[in-house]
């Protein structure tokens, strides 16, 4: 019996190792490849080889520096707007007796299930007619509408769980709606704000279709679009491309390293909305 258990245990470990290897190895190849010159890539795409060509990263950085900056602007501003708009609306819905708040809630969340591409064309035309084509705002606002809908949904649930007594005792002490929001609700809501920020941030950083149609040229184009436009040079091969892919992934990986717990709840929250 015990022996059988040992064999099962070893078998499970073996399976886990094999699966993890297959999952991870392509990424390792990308990392190795980003340090190879053209000949090394053709001769041996599989393993790490010497010498390392850090020059690839210089080439890549010079091409995607601006797009990386653009992605930071779009993602950063988008997160701030989404969290602020969602929290304000969710607070009004959860802790006020505004007439019609249920209608507002329904209005805000009900188009959530319509996939973005269905209204892609008219959305593009609206943004174009507002003279926001090829601007940061044009990239930020339409996805923000989506993210706010989800943010309102998540935050309303969270705010409703804040005990009424907390709110009421603050009211007794003379706290108006604005102070209530900034001094009581927001500080109590750090976990949900982290979740919404992460979901929103991942959406914005990874978004491809929207910036693809709404940007043109390098001025405001985000990194995810620009890495698809890179072409291998004849002398250097794919190495610099791979370096650019690695660079595009690094900011999120770094954030994940610092806040993996919040990331996991942010990722899961994104699924539950559906």
């Amino acid at each position: 019996m015990r022996k059988k258990k040992k064999i099962t245990g070893a078998l499970i470990t073996l399976l886990a190792v094999v699966l993890l290897f297959i999952t991870f190895y392509p990424f390792c190849m990308l990392l190795f490849g980003s340090l190879k010159n053209k000949m090394q890539l053709v001769d041996n795409p599989w393993f790490f080889t010497m010498p390392m060509y850090f020059h690839n990263y210089e080439v890549a950085a010079s091409q995607i520096m601006r797009p990386i900056f653009n992605s930071f602007v779009v993602t950063g501003v988008g997160i701030v707007l989404t969290v602020l708009f969602s929290a304000l609306a969710a607070y009004a819905i959860a802790h006020s007796d505004v007439p019609g708040k249920k209608i507002f809630y329904f209005y805000i969340i009900s188009l959530l299930m319509v996939p973005g591409f269905v209204i892609l064309i008219p959305q593009f035309l609206v943004v174009r007619d507002m003279h926001l084509y090829n601007t940061y705002l044009g990239q930020i606002l339409p996805p923000t509408a989506n993210n706010v809908a989800m943010g309102v949904m998540l935050m309303t649930t969270f705010f409703k769980a804040i005990p009424g007594s907390v709110i009421e005792s603050a009211q007794v002490e003379g706290c108006g709606p604005v102070q209530m929001f900034s001094r009581i609700i927001m500080p109590l809501s750090k976990p949900i704000m982290a979740t919404v920020s992460i979901t929103t941030g991942l959406n914005l950083w990874n978004n491809y279709m929207w910036p693809l149609i709404i940007t043109n040229g390098k001025d405001v184009m985000p990194v995810i679009v620009s890495i698809t436009r890179l072409t291998a040079s004849i002398s250097e091969g794919n190495g610099p491309l791979f370096a650019a892919y690695v660079i595009a992934a690094i900011p999120i990986l770094i954030l994940f390293a610092f806040a993996s717990k919040q990331f996991i709840s942010g990722l899961t929250a994104g699924a539950v909305k559906g």
Binding site: I12, L19, I22, T23, F24, P26, M29, L30, L41, V42, P45, S86, L88, A89, A92, I93, D97, P99, L111, M113, V114, P115, G116, F117, V118, I119, L120, I121, P122, V126, L141, P142, V148, A149, G164, E168, S169, G176, P177, V178, L202, W205, N206, Y208, M209, I224, I227, T228, F242, Y245, A248, A249, I252, L253, S260, F263, L267, T268, A271, G274
Partner: protein, 315 residues
Amino acid sequence: MQRQIAKQPKGAAGGGNKKSLGSRIMKNKIFYLFLLPAVLVITIFKYYPFLTSVYQSVFNWNGANVHIFNGAKNYIDIFQDKAFYSSIYNIVKVCLATVVINLIFPFLAAEIVTNLNGKRKQNFFKMGFIIPMVVPSMVVILLWKWILAGDYGVLNMLLGAVGLDNLITPWLATSRTALWSIIAINFPWIAGLPFLLYLTGKQNISEDLYEAADLEGAGLLQKIRYIDIPLLSSQRKLVITYMLIQAFQMFDQPFVLTSGGPGTSTLTPALYIYQRAFNYNQFGYSSAVGVILFIIVVGVTLFNQRIMKESDNMG
């Protein structure tokens, strides 16, 4: 003490309800200001485009100077366009394959990881499968573009190296293999949300159940069959719904890897809308495709919810 304080304003608020609607609106006007930004962005960037797309769908419109009412002609044309049908056919295949894959592989991986002995070992593998999830999906797609490439593609080089030269194919440029190659991206399909959902679901199952099963002499497979599979049914439903929504919107992969080709073998509805608008300047036609797809999405969603409810009643 706190409770006493709490009671007072509640009474006051109750009194407020008796006041006229007008005075309640006045008293709460600041809250309308709170609701305004959210309502505004959603109106401008969701409702308004949504309504215009219904309106524009009955026009022959190039997005600029040509704008002629043509009734149901766009709709009739769409239903006579073979490309539209193949985009639907392709997306049905993609949806089914994605759902089946995500019901099996991430579930097995979650079982394997949670059955490893030792917490540290479990956490190591958990993190190992979660980290690739935060790599931007476009980076994954471009990585697989290299793997699946015809010349100097990693997969073809691997096949050559192990002597299976006759299997070497330009995977993305052959109409027979292109769609399946796109589906194969991210093989073995573990590093995704479903894995996370199964994992959290399994962690919520009470340890007592497994202990009871141990006492009864149940093996690992029996525990999976009689404890995990029934108890993870809500996770499975979530996975099905989420993957259907995701798969239905597929755009990035065919756009970047194949442009919908060869022929229309990897054309998806989202890509079809894009191409009609931006390659052919048929904005009215494209809006009409959007309307049709919206109806399909609503239909599938309602159908899906119904099935989910019914299986709730049965289970």
